[in-house]
């Protein structure tokens, strides 16, 4: 997924002279062609995320469209004030490509997990947040990013994630995508939890239950209309996210339902509890420990339908 994003930046740079790339001491992989073709628009900077955000604000104020790539934790937390003031207050077209969103870096421990990135960026006006589910969708995000107004954060997943998106369903930043439609339950997902939700829908089908899987690739601006549309057709609504339950997808769906007077629908949220994860191991193991699996999602859905 990161590869797709970085190769797309190169494509965009060929199309538009305003595009610049800024990395923060990251691997050369997938960047060599950009560096060779556009050396004056290629910046490999030091490990100072606060500065990089401000620098990209200055570049954007002067007509450039900077794409920044570094690890999601450092791109969201370390420079939060710079993102808020320099980018969002000024509504500048800077693209933040955060590698390893969620628990991708699980074996490296809690300093490297970005499990609150969506929540802290949701709180900032003018920010746009996108979490694509696979590399194909990443390409669509990147192609639309060029002309997107204001700052954009793209959460990059581990890579090699099963491709479930398709051109046939279309793609527009800000518009949720129904991946399949059913009558019994609405499963709302984002990023790579969409694959989990699709698997859960398969499991439910074995029990004769049909599910809608609504893929929320854009957390902000939030597509309240589609959430309400599909929630109105469902007997229960569940959300699943690779993120803390504080302030992410589940919160956004709950807010949407409550604000619209639809809070009565049976509802459950799957995500990380409000703790620092203690375990190492793999992304899948950590997610499994906290119930972010298709089996658990299907079981929770059945539980809600029975209740």
């Amino acid at each position: 997924m990161r590869k797709a994003a970085l190769l797309a930046v190169h494509e965009l740079a060929k199309r538009d002279p305003r595009v610049v790339f800024v990395g923060s001491d990251i691997t050369k992989q997938n960047l060599e062609k950009f560096a060779a073709e556009f050396p004056d628009r290629y910046f490999m900077e030091g490990i100072y995320e606060q500065h990089i955000i401000g620098m990209c604000a200055g570049l954007a104020m002067s007509g450039k469209i900077p794409y920044i790539n570094t690890i999601a934790t450092f791109l969201t937390r370390r420079c939060y004030e710079q993102v808020l003031i320099d980018l969002c207050l000024h509504e500048l077209p800077v693209r933040l490509l955060g590698s390893g969103g969620g628990t991708v870096y699980a074996p490296l421990g809690p300093t490297h997990l970005a499990n609150e990135d969506l929540a802290i960026f949701r709180a900032i006006p003018n920010m746009t947040i996108v979490a694509p589910c696979d590399a194909d969708e990443m390409k669509r995000v990147m192609m639309q990013s060029l002309d997107w107004h204001g700052p954009l954060y793209v959460r990059i997943a581990k890579g090699g994630d099963k491709v479930v998106s398709s051109d046939a369903r279309g793609f527009k930043i800000g518009e949720a995508i129904p991946m399949r439609e059913g009558r019994d339950v609405l499963l709302v997902s984002t990023g790579i939890t969409t694959q989990i939700a699709l698997d859960a829908a398969d499991l439910l089908a074995q029990d004769g239950l049909t599910a809608t899987v609504l893929h929320i690739h854009t957390l902000k601006p939030f597509d309240t209309a589609r959430v309400l549309h599909y929630a109105a057709q469902a007997k229960a609504v569940l959300t699943i996210e690779e993120h803390t339950l504080v302030g992410g997808l589940g919160s956004a769906v709950a807010e949407t339902l409550m604000d619209s007077g639809k809070g009565g629908v049976p509802f459950a949220r799957l995500g990380f509890p409000d703790v620092f994860t203690e375990e190492l191991g793999s992304q899948v193991e950590i997610m499994g420990k906290y119930g972010l699996t298709s089996a658990n999602l299907a079981a929770k859905a059945k539980g809600l339908l029975k209740a």
Binding site: E45, H51, G54, A57, G58, L59, G63
Partner: protein, 274 residues
């Protein structure tokens, strides 16, 4: 470096305006505005290539006022140059005003960046200077920062980067008034050897009396000090410069609700200046 320069009649006019703004808005960071007043004056009088009728002119020089709390001085000069009507000065900080307690580019013509949180402006300036270099444009970037602001690590991140990129089209002006909110900087976070720090980060450095208008003009006209390095002009200033009451007085870092008798005393002090 001692500050021996006297405040001339224009400097007194500027200070009267700052006092009027302080009364009009009900509050303000007086000390910082008084220490940067001559720096901002010389920039707008003699150095910056800007056009008040086209504040967003693409080829203008960029001036990032990073120590945003000193904005009363910036507003005085922007109004004097015609970026907005002088009447605006008297209603700053009020609902519907275009002038806030910290500068905002969305509201105020001539303000390049919204600042106030310290340690942001130099990085923005580095980005502007890089953009000019990419586009092969000759416009330049100037960033005014404070000495207290230089406590922020992000200032030194930006300095590292400016040095690395050898941004000769970037000048940082440091308002070295040696005082911060709590008191003397040397007691809170000493910055010495300050000029050496900037040199070691790759800047060509000069020092100047920051209230000496001809000296400031001469120094700024000499930028870049080195054709292959960013320039740092350390301006030795006096916080609260121009009034006995406010000079070196942390109580006047930020002042709200100035009493009429305090204002009268300040005006007398101003008239009594040599």
């Amino acid at each position: 470096m001692e500050q021996r320069a006297l405040i001339d009649s224009r400097g007194k006019d500027h200070r009267r305006l700052i006092l009027q703004m302080l009364v009009g808005s009900g509050r303000g960071h007086v000390g910082a505005a008084l220490s940067v007043m001559e720096i901002v004056r010389v920039l707008y009088d003699d150095i910056l290539r800007v056009d008040p009728k086209q504040p967003r002119w693409a080829d203008r020089d960029r001036f990032i006022f990073s120590k945003g709390h000193g904005c009363l001085a910036l507003y005085v000069m922007l109004a004097e140059k015609g970026f907005f009507p002088k009447e605006e000065l008297l209603r700053s900080c009020h609902f519907g005003s275009m002038l806030g307690g910290h500068p905002e580019s969305r509201k105020t013509p001539g303000v390049e960046a919204s600042t106030g949180a310290l340690g942001h402006g130099l990085s923005i300036g580095v980005g502007c200077a890089l953009a000019a270099r990419i586009d092969k444009k000759d416009w330049r970037t100037f960033v005014l920062i404070g000495d207290g602001e230089s406590n922020e690590g992000s200032v030194w991140e930006a300095a590292l980067s400016a040095g690395k990129h050898r941004l000769a089209n970037l000048t940082v002006l440091v308002d070295y008034n040696k005082f911060q909110s709590y008191g003397p900087s040397k007691d809170i976070q000493d910055l010495e050897p300050f000029a050496d720090k900037w040199r070691s980060f790759g800047f060509a450095v000069r020092e100047v009396d920051g209230h000496d208008v001809p000296a400031l003009r001469e120094a700024l006209n000499a930028t870049p000090f080195d054709a292959a390095k960013p320039s740092a002009l350390i301006c030795h200033t006096v916080k609260g410069k121009g009034f006995k009451t406010t000079e070196h007085n942390a109580d006047w870092h930020h002042k709200a609700k100035v009493k009429p008798e305090e204002l009268a005393l300040l005006l007398i002090e101003l008239e009594g200046l040599p």
